[in-house]
């Protein structure tokens, strides 16, 4: 068993190898990316600040990623909640469709979407890409929120209803606060997947140029350390988004720990005002 754990270290090393190389050469003082290293420099980052294509691309990527994250997380939440009470046939249909979206190659999906848009007389561009990405990432966000919905203690919602809360109030005061960490995780996942995507963008971005396409067209010609710096900045942003989500989740989990530890207590005194109020108070 301990030998198994020893195996994880090389696995981690290999998983991070490409990332490490990207970052390493972005600080290396040489045009050519070869070992041994030539010394530390920040000049590739300095070059970025003057690079308008990069700055415009980064901004465009965010203008796409934020609505994609919102849309994918919002629809994922609705779908996950809807699946909970749906008849088994409808449930199977929705799950099957989501599975199909996940399994159909994104490049096939993107070409189909581009064809359909053109036939419908709609142009490619910002909204086409936002909708296409939200669709492609919906399986992920539904899964993330759905897992939390499954873990949800339904007695809390029932207690709120018993004490006279309307369905909407129950949703707002009990269900949504309990699901907030998962919704936030789904939002970051949608955003990050959007920042990472190039396949859908290639077919649907039209005149819009997110950073992934700027980089793709630059590096087809050559490898340049300032491209590494570009990727490193994007990585840092990605980890920031990820880190914020995780930190929040961690804090919430710690704050929420006393509640699930005493299910008996909660069952005996199902005070929705207490649980819902204290949970709502924390956000």
């Amino acid at each position: 068993m301990r030998s198994g754990r020893r195996l994880l270290l090389p696995a981690v090393a290999v998983l991070y190898l490409p990332i490490a190389v990207l970052v390493l050469f972005s600080f290396n003082d040489a045009e050519v990316m070869a070992l041994p290293l030539s010394g530390f420099t920040l000049r590739w980052y300095a070059a970025l600040r003057a690079n308008e294509a990069f700055l415009a691309g980064l901004l465009t990527s965010f203008r796409i990623a934020v609505p994609v994250g919102l849309l994918a997380a919002g629809l994922g939440l609705l779908t996950a909640l809807g699946l909970r009470g749906a008849a088994s046939g409808l449930r199977a249909l929705v799950l099957l469709l989501l599975l199909a979206i996940f399994l159909v190659p994104k490049s096939v999906l993107a070409i189909g979407q581009a064809m359909l848009l053109q036939l419908a007389g709609l142009s490619r561009g910002y909204w086409a890409l936002v909708l296409a990405q939200a669709t492609a990432f919906l399986p992920f966000t539904t899964l993330l929120v759905g897992a939390a919905v499954l873990r949800l203690d339904r007695r809390l919602e029932e207690a709120a209803r018993d004490l006279g809360a309307s369905p909407l109030v129950t949703l707002r005061m009990v269900t949504l606060p309990l699901l907030a960490p998962a919704i936030l995780a789904a939002f970051s996942a949608g955003m990050i997947l959007s920042l990472a995507d190039a396949t859908l963008a290639r077919q649907l971005a039209g005149p819009v140029q997110p950073l992934s396409l700027v980089v793709a067209s630059a590096f087809q010609r050559e490898l340049r350390p300032d491209l590494n710096a570009m990727q490193t900045v994007l990585l840092a942003v990605t980890f920031l988004v990820l880190g914020l989500g995780l930190a929040r989740r961690h804090r919430r989990r710690r704050a929420a720990r006393p509640a699930p530890v005493e299910p008996d207590h909660a069952a005996r005194r199902p005070g929705p005002r207490r649980s819902a109020g204290s949970i709502a108070g924390r956000c």
């Binding site: 991070y16 050519v32 609705l78 809807g82 989501l98 190039a198 087809q220």
Partner: protein, 284 residues
């Protein structure tokens, strides 16, 4: 009532997921006249796609890349997933983050990084030469099927590992202990207990990995060099460059049918396997 909540997501999936695929199936029957699409009922594109040695060869290559990726990901992902399932709870959270990190790195960034790593003057060659394993840098690493396969395995390993890990988490370790207590050697306990119990995860991972690897376009195109043309890049150029939409659509659907066919075949072949294994192994 709650079924109403499904409507927005369902609408998006129907409009941007199902409709494009159906449109493609329909366009496969259309014809092209001097770069203009003609709504038609012609089998030309389907026959041409199914009869073209080039297209069939590329579909075969997709099958090959997909299967090789599944095999390598299963061999590498299985021990990782098993080791992860035996970590203490605190480390499990960290392990999930580590495992998912490559997924969050942009696909272009990943490909770009492999280009640096595998190049003639790249770090891997440098280490091989400096350590005396090679006399001079090798060129087989980049712009060959090797680099494509490496990147495909890297891209898909998290999916495979995650699927196996979820299954491994549910394995009751007492069953493995019982097998050992009853005199089963470690390998026998693994083969009779752990493997059958985790095979659903392995299967799910294999199906996902196969579809993702066989349908990848950017990785082979940017890392495979002359070997990098795939069914997907063919569809792309038929669509974007040659404006032969019907042939592009028909080829895309042949690829989808191939993926679906393999998935169904694998499901049929393995559907009874784990169950039979558990029943036979337990009955003896």
């Amino acid at each position: 009532m709650s079924a109403l909540l499904l409507v927005p997501g369902l609408l998006l999936v129907l409009a941007m997921g199902v409709a494009p695929l159906l449109a493609m199936a329909l366009i496969g029957f259309w014809s092209v006249d001097e770069m203009v699409l003609v709504p038609d009922l012609s089998a030309r594109a389907w026959l041409e796609a199914a009869g073209s040695a080039t297209i069939l060869g590329l579909l075969g290559r997709a099958l090959l890349y997909g299967s090789a990726t599944v095999l390598l990901c299963a061999l590498l992902g299985y021990p990782i997933a098993l080791a992860m399932s035996r970590l203490p709870p605190l480390l499990k959270g960290a392990a999930t983050v580590v495992l998912l990190t490559p997924l969050y790195v942009g696909e272009i960034a990943r490909i770009y990084a492999w280009r640096i790593l595998l190049g003639v003057n790249g770090p891997i060659n440098w280490v091989l030469v400096e350590s005396g394993l090679l006399d001079e840098p090798t060129r087989v690493l980049l712009y060959t099927p090797v680099s494509t396969l490496l990147a495909l395995v890297y891209n898909n390993l998290p999916f495979m590992t995650l699927a196996i890990w979820i299954a491994a988490e549910r394995v009751d370790l007492r069953l493995v202990e019982a097998a050992r207590d009853l005199g089963g050697r470690p390998f026998a306990a693994f083969r009779r207990v752990t493997l059958p119990l985790t095979s659903p995860g392995l299967l799910a991972g294999a199906l996902a990995t196969f579809a993702l690897a066989a349908g990848d376009q950017l990785t082979p195109a940017l890392l495979g060099g002359t070997s990098g043309s795939t069914a997907m890049s063919m569809i792309d150029s038929l669509f974007g460059v040659a404006f032969d939409w019907p042939l592009a659509a028909a080829t895309a659907w042949l690829l989808l049918i191939l993926l679906l066919g393999v998935a169904l075949l694998v499901l049929l072949l393995t559907a009874r396997l784990p169950a039979t294994r558990i029943v036979l192994g337990g009955g003896r």
